[in-house]
Symmetry: C2
Subunit: 371 residues, 2 copies
């Protein structure tokens, strides 16, 4: 079934070129500092009525995404968030509130606020509880798209904790054996502290690939591998891809995440979640945030983790040109590049889009530090 | 790459016949009641010096496995446990102890006891903590192979809690891009209570398939699909199978589980764990058990879960002969069959093996209720 894919592998280069154009690694494009990028997002969001402290949470998430090379969730998503706020499907001024709380758990109402506002609130709660009791688990409903989960698990990492977070999403994945989509890509993020900031950072959808990867290929008119999505219905496949290769596991994981999100917190779940990019109805997404303090367990957590990741990276690779990696390595390389460059090299299209946005919202344009 | 697999698909029938012979669905074989099966396991384990209460925990796990149709972990594994106890690599008389504890967490030393003894102790602790505070997380080291994780998450289910458990295992999986095995199949189990016992029960390795499935095919001399294991090294592949199909996700999940087990609890981890079926050294496996009480979150958990699983089962299937299932459905069908039959139909080989065991250990033989 991979035949059609490999036949067109030369087209991969187009995809790579597209990605490079859109990810800011082109040599002759201007560089925007992370601080300027953050300033611009905050100004745009404030221009449509978002309180500053809420706009800052969204900006933190978007800038983190671009910094780590997760461009699908970077500044290119600002128009989606602006549109949701302008259409009133998301309340940018809302603050989350605790509905029920114990010393180790909290149930939170997001009040239809911005996802990153709800997410950072919940993870901070989980962190406080973990610092006191070793574990904190916070589940929320009434949330919206929260960007990259990495941002929240890194909140935990900064306090030397293990962080986990989960979200349900709009139904674009067909369960094993089903013809049409009924569940989300339901991503999970996990971060754990190693020595000298050699951290483990995993951010993954429970489908074979995320929606963004499929969209990128469709935009480029490059065939999508059959293993990724059903060519007839467009439904994404759960991790595992085929029943023979245990896609019931990816499907099962997606339901586990739904259990910790929509089922536990009482938000929307599965097919009740509105379609992607809808602004007519509230999303009422549900999310779950967990922090664990290794100090409550065996001493030497960071040493053991760094020992393990070092062993893994030094394993003999099947192909000498492709070394074995650990979750987070690709992001680390990207962050180093951004630091060396002094900022992000956005594509000309992205800069043009920001220029138009600045005009229409009457905010100070995005100013590169270097042309 | 599936060509060789499909070319030999006629051999699948041999595998199915083998499975049926070994799983007790053959019509003319004797039936053994679950109680008799449990009695036999307890007697055998006590004959090698296991205290009764510890032998009971192991028997509970094995009988549960055969009851649910997870025969790879049923009574056919008794010789492995007996061998470990007889060789002294596992201390059947040991009791676990708490090394550090908070109201929501515990760090446990398994003292090289039987895996099911350590596992049931840890999950009971997690349950007590969850009943008080909404969540309980218990990590242990010094454990051994704990059979099916399902047994422990069902302990939580019986108290109307969500249960999760994780274990590291001997290194048989090659991380993405690596030539040789370095990590375990690191399984996870999750159970959540639905209405009228329509529960969600997921039990899965983070590799494409478990070691048992590969072994079964090798025994039958049936080709193992390339997607499951490397034909040169025999290394199992992580869920996702290929890098193109995101095997880094299955690999990443296996490391997440190692983080919650060996790294958190300070047991062995990754390549330090001894090879499968070794009895010369202690396993020092690490496991993690989590219980969550839905009462601390949105009312109506069971109703929502049953609503979701009902929706999923009623989705239009791609192939009308293969209805969409939910994790636990196959086990439920098997348990119903066992109940209708009044017990388990073991294969002639299995019964012969038990007869020999009874003689060598001088215990009362396994007595079928019906010949």
């Amino acid at each position: 079934m991979w035949t059609s894919w490999w036949r067109t592998k030369h087209r991969i280069f187009d995809v790579v070129k597209y990605f490079v154009r859109n990810s800011g690694t082109v040599e002759d494009t201007p560089i925007v500092s992370l601080a300027e990028c953050r300033r611009f997002v905050i100004d745009c969001m404030m221009a449509v009525g978002t309180p500053k402290h809420n706009a800052e949470r969204l900006a933190d998430n978007m800038v983190e995404a671009d910094y780590r090379g997760l461009h699908g969730h970077g500044i290119n998503r600002i128009e989606m968030f602006l549109s949701e706020v302008q259409h009133g499907s998301c309340d940018a001024a809302a603050s989350p509130e605790v509905l029920n709380e114990s010393a180790a758990t909290a149930w939170v109402e997001g009040n239809n606020g911005l996802g990153p506002v709800v997410g950072s609130f919940c993870m901070n709660l989980a962190i406080d509880k973990a610092k006191n009791l070793g574990v904190g688990l916070v589940a929320c409903k009434g949330s919206n798209h929260f960007g990259i989960g990495t941002t929240y698990v890194i909140q935990a990492l900064k306090k030397d904790l293990v962080g986990l977070c989960f979200s349900n999403t709009s139904p674009v994945v067909a369960p094993t054996r089903a013809r049409c989509p009924a569940i989300g890509t339901n991503p999970l993020s996990v971060a754990a502290p190693g020595m000298a900031e050699d951290n483990f950072v995993l951010d993954m959808a429970t489908s074979v690939v995320s929606r963004g990867k499929i969209e990128m290929r469709r935009k480029m008119n490059v065939p999508v591998p059959l293993g990724w999505a059903d060519p007839l219905t467009g439904a994404l496949r759960p991790l595992g891809s085929t029943e023979e290769n245990s896609s019931y596991k990816g499907y099962g994981l997606a339901i586990c995440i739904e259990i910790l999100c929509g089922i536990l917190a009482g938000g929307h779940y599965g097919p009740y979640i509105h379609p992607v990019f809808t602004t007519e109805t509230e999303a009422n997404l549900a999310q779950c945030f967990v922090a664990i303090d290794p100090c409550f367990f065996a001493p030497g957590f960071q040493e053991r983790l760094t020992d393990l990741t070092t062993i893994l990276r030094n394993l003999e690779p099947s192909d000498p040109r492709k070394p074995v990696q650990v979750a987070g390595d690709t992001q680390r390389v990207h962050m180093k590049m951004i630091e060396e460059n002094g900022g992000i090299k956005y594509s000309a299209e992205q800069l043009k889009s920001c220029e138009n946005l600045a005009k229409s919202l009457d905010v100070k344009p995005l100013r590169p530090i270097k042309q």
